[in-house]
């Protein structure tokens, strides 16, 4: 995956809470191979006149600033593919669906969690100045708003490391092969019922 270090890009505001992964990627597109390019499926059924992503002033946005519980619902990683393939590198919200946030990190999409008031203020700035840019500095864990105000955000250190280095975590896990093998050996006596006899 592409590493994420710093980003300065236009941001688009979306004043909608509880945006679920069915809205991000309607289920009928789930059978498409990734090679089909998921960008055109993003918010497919929400694209009505005036939808912020289609307002010309916001074209080229790589940051989405939205409301609480973004990415709730289904575990479909395709919702992340749709954002990434449409050019998004960062989503800012007061809270995220846990599975979505995990999927995002695996695909180089940074999720920034900030307090509800701060995110609402950021959305207002972007509505008042369409096309304004924000700067995200992942090593410093700061987001700089269009008005120059800097906001600090927290992030899991493991997630941060994987994003900055673009790490494949299977390779990382395989460094613990001995521990996995030892666990499996001990488990044979600790929980002999684990592997079903029947086929």
């Amino acid at each position: 995956m592409d590493p994420f270090v710093t980003l300065t890009a236009p941001a688009v505001p979306l004043d909608i809470a509880n945006i679920d992964t069915d809205q991000l990627l309607p289920a009928r597109f789930l059978k498409k191979p990734r090679s089909a390019g998921y960008g055109n499926f993003l918010f497919h059924d929400e694209r009505k006149p005036g939808f912020p992503l289609d307002v010309p002033a916001y074209t080229g946005a790589a940051v989405l600033v939205t409301d609480r519980n973004f990415g709730c619902g289904s575990s479909r990683e395709g919702a992340v593919y749709a954002l990434v393939d449409a050019g998004f590198r960062c989503v800012v919200a007061p809270s995220f669906g846990d599975i979505f946030a995990a999927n995002a990190a695996k695909n180089g999409l940074l999720t920034v969690t900030l307090p509800e008031d701060a995110v609402a203020a950021l959305r207002r700035q972007l509505q008042e100045t369409p096309g304004a840019t924000v700067t995200v500095d992942l090593p410093a864990q700061t987001l700089t708003a269009p008005d120059g105000g800097a906001l600090s955000f927290a992030i899991d250190p493991f997630k941060k490391e994987c994003l900055i280095e673009g790490l494949d975590d299977v390779a990382l896990t395989l460094r613990h092969q001995d521990a996995i093998d030892a666990f499996d050996r001990a488990d044979v006596t600790a929980r002999p019922w684990l592997v079903p006899d029947a086929r």
């Binding site: 509880n18 679920d20 069915d22 059978k31 846990d98 975590d169």
Partner: protein, 468 residues
């Protein structure tokens, strides 16, 4: 030194930590990995990296999302849908996995099939590329949904990196009223804490109302944990749990079952176990519930009225309420019981088990549905038992369709869609915009409530209608 009291979650978590990083990330051993047709991305990833499946004997593939609800005698007509079902079979075959395909006598929705076949056991870690994997927590397992990259990681390593989540205990004491079910209980929980109320947390459901639930009811409750933001929900295993498991196909047998039960009895939370958050609800105060909006957190008693955004002080919130009401085609202040529906759907991993079908049939027995509807049992064994009890006749005589097991109209990707603009009384788990089809309107409710809506053609308090 006395041991620190631990919760059910902590016991299961601690027993599965293979390695810990200094930053607190834990590598968890995974005991069961379930796959459905959506796993093709993950198989593509391990194939691309030339990796194999580490523990095929702990990995099970189930065709459920794309399978037809109608006749299975003929091949699936849509080539893209047929391809999803055959790709799963091919991937399972290539990696030597047990595959529950379209014509398997155990086939069903993975979250119905696995408990039914004895694959779901207390104390296990269970993952699946499906957010409703939380269902299996009803047995005291730590079970949660994962994305495609995590599926590929589990396929290759039988482990997963996780940060230890926080814990919420939701205690529901007292007795549920007549015609008030596990579905109403979990809708009330989500209505109380919100769709992100338990984000970052694992929920343990406790209290006398939870203890009194059957396994079917517990599965319904844990199923919708994700609708409250919790990746997993758990219920302590007890005699109800052990009685359900005993004798099932993949469950341990004989002396091995006894050893397993002895271990499982050590799993419930110790007295004095500490949770990050405690929530309590009074079971007697829970009414038959329905949702009015496009998030499960809009669950209210069916006796309520459609809320008024004008009464909401926060302009952003008020705008979001208006957007939901506009999508749902509802007017503020109207009684929910006056809302006319166009169809019903009874099914899904939330409510397609035998107890659910019995509850719906009890309402419909001797009545006619005044709107079209589809009843889809959760598995072949559920379907067969329902037919042995004559439940299929009740539904068919009422004018509803009786389908073949699968996810069907809950997610609509097998072609079972609610037409645009239509309003569906649904026993499913999500009322998101477009969930049951573009511009479809979904009201979530229990099987008995959906049956009552079928009989009257509008949202109905099943307590007023009664059941045989």
């Amino acid at each position: 030194m006395t041991e620190q009291p631990r919760s059910l979650f902590e016991k299961v978590w601690d027993a599965h930590v293979v390695a810990t990083r200094p930053d607190g990330q834990a590598l968890l051993a995974i005991d069961r990995h379930f796959l459905h047709e959506g796993s093709f991305h993950a198989f593509g990833m391990i194939d691309h990296a030339n990796r194999s499946v580490r523990r095929p004997e702990l990995t099970f593939a189930v065709a459920d999302h794309y399978v037809p609800s109608h006749s299975r005698a003929k091949p699936i007509a849509d080539p893209e849908i047929a391809n999803m079902v055959t790709m799963l079979e091919a991937n399972a075959g290539r990696h030597g996995l047990r595959h529950f395909g379209l014509h398997d006598p155990a086939q069903g929705i993975v979250h119905v099939l696995a408990p039914e076949q004895g694959l779901t056991l207390p104390g296990l870690t269970i993952v699946c590329g499906d957010s409703h994997t939380s269902t299996h927590g009803a047995f005291g397992a730590l079970a949660f949904g994962i994305g495609a990259t995590e599926v590929s990681h589990v396929l290759a390593t039988q482990t997963l990196w996780q940060r230890r989540p926080k814990t919420t205990r939701i205690t529901v004491d007292g007795a549920l009223g007549a015609h008030v079910t596990a579905k109403d209980l979990i809708l009330a929980v989500i209505g109380a804490i919100g769709a992100d109320g338990a984000a970052g947390h694992v929920i343990e459901y406790a209290g006398s109302a939870i203890r009194a639930l059957s396994m079917e009811g517990r599965l319904t409750v844990c199923n919708m944990s994700i609708e409250a933001g919790a990746r997993a929900g758990m219920i302590a295993p007890d005699d109800t749990t052990f009685a359900w498991i005993e004798g099932r196909h993949y469950a341990p047998k004989g002396e091995m079952f006894d050893r397993a039960v002895a271990h499982w009895r050590t799993l419930p939370s110790d007295p004095g176990a500490v949770f990050d958050r405690e929530v309590t609800l009074d079971a007697a105060a829970i009414a038959p519930s329905v949702t009015w909006g496009t998030s499960p957190e809009t669950a209210v008693p069916v006796t309520a009225a459609v809320p008024d955004p004008g009464a909401e002080a926060d302009p952003v919130r008020a705008g979001q309420m208006r957007k939901m009401l506009d999508y749902m085609g509802l007017t503020p202040g109207m009684a929910l019981e006056d809302v006319a529906i166009d169809r019903v759907f009874i099914g899904s991993c939330t409510n397609a088990r035998l107890e659910d079908l019995r509850a719906a049939a009890a309402v419909l027995r001797g009545r006619r549905a005044v709107v079209p509807g589809l009843v889809v049992p959760g598995s072949v064994p559920v379907r067969q038992q329902a037919e042995a009890e004559g439940l299929d006749r009740v539904f068919i005589d009422a004018g509803l369709e009786w389908g073949q097991p699968g996810c069907s109209m809950c997610v609509g990707i097998n072609g079972d869609l609610v037409p645009a603009g239509e309003r569906c009384a649904s026993t499913t788990n999500r009322n998101f915009p477009g969930r049951q089809g573009p511009n479809a309107r979904t009201h979530l409710m229990s099987p008995a409530m959906a049956a009552a809506a079928a009989a009257t053609g509008k949202l109905t308090d099943v307590r007023k209608l009664g059941a045989s």
